[in-house]
Each structure stands twice: as C-alpha cells, then as structure tokens.
Symmetry: C2
Subunit: 320 residues, 2 copies
C-alpha cells in the first residue's frame, strides 16, 4: 500500500505491506486523512507513537471498512466510517479497534468526515468528560482558529456555553466570532486583561495548547472551581505555580492527551461522539471547518501550511 | 451563651447572644466540638471565615437540635446530630443549614460524633467526589496520623483501596499501619523513594496537606491519570511545575478546601456521608480516632497539642 514515510524530519511517499487486523479491529481503506499538530512533532522526533501504535503518522481518517476481525460485531465491510487512530492514517489502509471508527454522517463528504475525529474527540474528552462542561459555562480557547478551537467554539455554542478566543490574526478572530465565539483578541500582552473584561468573575474552563508562558495568567483569569486543561506546550513546559491561589479558588489543572489513552476510554469518547455529536453534524448545526484539502502527494505542503500557522481549521490529505 | 473568643492570637472564654436561625437552618445545642488545623490558622489571622460564616472558631460539632427554621423538613427539636459548620462550633449554640447536620449513630457518644464531620467530609469530597476513588486504587496520605489521615486510611481500607502514609514518628506510622495502611515511613528525605518502592507504577491519589516542598516529588510518585489533591500548605505555597510531565502522565492537580464550598456541595457531601459512611460507623467498622477530649475551658491546651503535632487523630472540646 501507499504510505507517507518520515525520513530525516521530512516526508516521502513510500510503500508497505497492508497492516494485519486483530480480532477486535477493522481494516479501513482510507479516503482522506486529517493532519494534526502532533504529526509535526512526531515528524521532528519529539512525539514518539505510543506502544503498539503504527509508526506511520496520522491520527484520524475517513474511509470504507474493507475487512473486520473475527470478534467484531459493530461494523461490516462496506461501512463508511470516520476513525480516531493511534497512528497510521497517512496510508492507503489502516487498522483500529472497532469502536474507534464511527459511522460517517451521510451529509459529509470524505474530506469533511476526515476532519472530525481527532479534534472533536479531544474537545469532547476534555470539555465534557474531564471538565464536566455544562450550559452557562464560560470557556476560553487559545488558538481559537485551530482545528481544536473551531470544534470547541461550535460545541460550546451548541451546548449553551459562551466561548472566548485568542488567535494570531484579526482575520482568525473574526472567523471565530462568526462561528459562535462571544469575543476574541489577537495574541498580545493584552489578551488576559481582555479575558478579565469579558468574564470578570472568571471563566470556567480554559483549553490551552500553549502551556508554560500562559500558565500563571491562565490561572488568574480562571474562576472558582475552574478547570485549566493543558493539551499542548507551544509556549514551553516549565512554569511556577502558587498552590495557595489554587486552593483558595479550588481550581484544577489537568494534563491531557488523547492518543495514549487506553482503548476503553477512547471507546467511551467515540461512543459519545456517535450518540451526541453526530445528530448535530447530520443536520449541519456543527460543521467541520476545513482550511484546505490537498492530494496525498502534497503532504509536505500541507505540513508547511500548518507549521506556518496559516490555517483556519483543518488541513486534510486526500487519497485517490 | 458561652463561647471561645480569639483575642491577640490566643483564646478566651467569652459570652454572646445565641445565634439566630434562618428559615432553612437548625439551631444545635453543642455537646462536643472538634478541633481542626484550620482553627489554628484562623486564630493566627491567616484564614478568615468565608462570607456569612460565624467569626467564632469551630468547623464541626455534635449536639441536640434545639430549634428548626420554618422551612426545615428533615430535622426536629431533640434530634441528636453531628454537623459540618462554616464556623461557630466553639460555642454553646451554633446554627447550620439543615442538611449539614446528619443523624448521630447511636453507638457513638458525643465526643466520638464530634470527631466525624470535618475529616470524613474532607476525605469523602476529595477521595470520592474529586478523585473518583475506586477499589484497587493506591492512595498516599501525608500526615497519616492526623484526623484526615486516620479517616482516609479507614475509608481506603473499607472501600477496597490500599493506602501508604508518611508521618512524624515511628509511633504514628505503627498506628496507621494498625489502622489499615499498607505501609508507611517516618518523614525524611527518603519518603518518596519508599513510595516508589511500594507502588512502582505510581499511586492513583495523593491527599496532601504539605504543598510546596512536596509538590514536584508528589507528581513523580503519582501514576498515569493520578490525582494530586492539595488540602494544605504546611510546606509552603510556591513551587515549580513541569507541564510536559503532567501531560505525558495525564495527571490532575486539584486545589481543594471544603469550608468555602457552596451549600449545595456540602449538602451533597453530607448526604453521601449519611448514606454511605454511617452504615460503617454504625457497626464499628470505621471509627473516629480521638487523641484526647478536653473540657471546653481547656481550649488553649487543646490547641497547644495540635500545634506541637503530638496528636494521633482528633482533639475534641466537651461542653457540660
């Protein structure tokens, strides 16, 4: 099968044997594959795949079930799915546990469906399952125009919450507000005073891919019993922490990644998406936000766009 | 009514009017009142009572319901109760919301009942409600021989969990192991390497009253998806934090106090204690651990014992 291989921190088109399926797995013929920031880190040797995962990049795809393991009960060959992957999405075929693939809504094409699993699973896990997001909550998305940000803004809006964003350009902020964010501010020293203006009593949840250099100011704008969820370290890993303030405000700091979670947790997240997100996707109330879709062979250009932070929403690779 | 008043960071017997009850409150004639480390901090001006709370010390008591507010449905005069208080326990009478007082098990005397609310509510809230403790979990209690530690060890054992403790003396460690802890170590530089020996894959929960100078080593011995719950700052508030390790291990850091929580949360905690702890108290499977009970007038001596860290378990003040 055709693959994208990593060599010397760059990408090459390659060729491998198709992966073998386990008894509880499905084999998917990939139609489109989503690109995530984690792929860039993995390419650069900074984010090794978890034990047992494919060493091929790619954390999500859309496609058609080609074959099912002998214990699989929920899928059959020919099913059109979108899937959360531990790796292996940058290839013609990929395997995953049966419940990590969920039915593709009929109104989404392959490219759109490939833009769903990773960002919506990440948002669902962190907002609802980790931080118990409920109607009326105020949520901050740093990097609001990213795949995660654009998914989060829509989830917040659909489930009765208010969201505030930060992003790199005015165009991105406008896009986020148009998508449902209540307010936003271009990245600068001022963003935290703006968040304080928007939510004087503090926000309830911050989904943060920045880490170190936002950390203490994130806790300042986070309200009583608020949740700060660290999902990335674009601003470094080291920080100071005042436990006295953390106690007084009874706040939670949560380090979170989805890729290395156990199969059961991912089953639970994907089942929730299937039951609670797909109805909103099916009627177009929540939409995948796609910056650009490129042919599989243009993977280097797709990575370049993400690395240069030009994208609003997802970048997708298409297979023939 | 007779009270204990704070003046110039010391305690004096005083006299005040009885408190007035609100519509949803009960008036309790106090029989015995538990002493907590927070009382010492409040006496020293370091822990002001939350808005609306009595300025009299005392976070728990046992006693008899004297009067009920006109909307109260769950209690009546003459009921024997133990109560979680926002303050005011060092007095002959105290008020609290009706659901913060729960029925005293018949097999406990007044002194024993006064030792229950604060430490068991704190443990219940943090272990079960914040950290979702489940059978098989490994839990660390620093200050294992404290009121909280001795409550936590028994809860862990009763609910199928393993606990490890640190404490100031060999006598305290032996007491904790006798109470149900799997292992323990006298405070020294070595305690964290011991915890690593006992739980090579990391512990699931750490209930920590120390804070700053244990913080980074706590995170080191905490396992994947573990919870570090900060309930005190005896070792300082400032620390450094590596968010990279927090993310890789998907850990949670939770700042937690019970006193300033809203009435609804405290209702939920006390209702859980009433339903799930009292059956174990009633048959003597879980016991209040009492270091010493002293007459109300000996409050200074009671504080001295706690301040000198001599106690194993609770200190209680008795009213006539």
């Amino acid at each position: 099968m055709k693959t994208i291989e990593v060599k010397d921190k760059t990408l090459l088109i390659g060729e491998r044997e198709e992966p073998q399926i386990g008894d509880h797995e499905v084999l998917i013929k990939v139609k489109a594959s989503g690109i995530n920031r984690a792929d860039i880190a993995q390419k650069n040797g900074l984010y090794p795949p978890p034990p047992g995962a494919s060493d091929i990049l790619g954390l999500e795809c859309s496609g058609i079930i080609e074959e099912v393991g002998k214990e699989v009960t929920s899928k059959k060959p020919g099913d059109e799915v979108m899937a959360l992957l531990g790796g292996g999405g940058y290839a013609e075929y990929v395997t995953c546990p049966e419940f990590h693939a969920i039915e593709k809504p009929k109104n989404l094409n392959w490219i759109e469906a490939a833009a769903i699993p990773e960002v919506f699973a990440t948002c669902w896990l962190n907002l609802f399952m980790e931080a118990s997001m409920k109607a009326g909550d105020k949520v901050v998305f740093h990097a609001g125009a990213s795949g995660i940000g654009t998914a989060g803004i829509q989830l917040a809006k659909t489930f009765g919450c208010e969201s505030f964003v930060t992003a790199g350009t005015k165009e991105k902020i406008d896009f986020c507000i148009n998508l449902g964010a209540s307010n936003g501010e271009v990245r600068s020293k001022d963003i935290f005073s703006k968040i304080k203006d928007w939510a004087p009593n503090g926000v309830d949840i911050i989904l943060d891919p920045v880490g170190g250099n936002y950390f203490e100011r994130n806790l300042e704008v986070l309200g009583i019993e608020g949740n700060l969820i660290i999902i990335g370290l674009m601003g470094g890993a080291k920080t100071e922490l005042n436990l006295g303030l953390l106690m007084i405000k009874r706040q939670k700091i949560i380090g979170s990644t989805i890729r290395a979670r156990d199969e059961k947790t991912k089953n639970a997240v994907m089942t929730e998406l299937s039951n609670k997100l797909i109805p909103h996707l099916g009627v177009g109330e929540i939409k995948p936000i796609i910056h650009q879709s490129l042919p599989f062979e243009d993977c280097l250009e797709a990575h370049r766009i993400m690395e240069s932070d030009e994208n609003i929403g997802k970048l997708i690779l298409e297979l023939d």
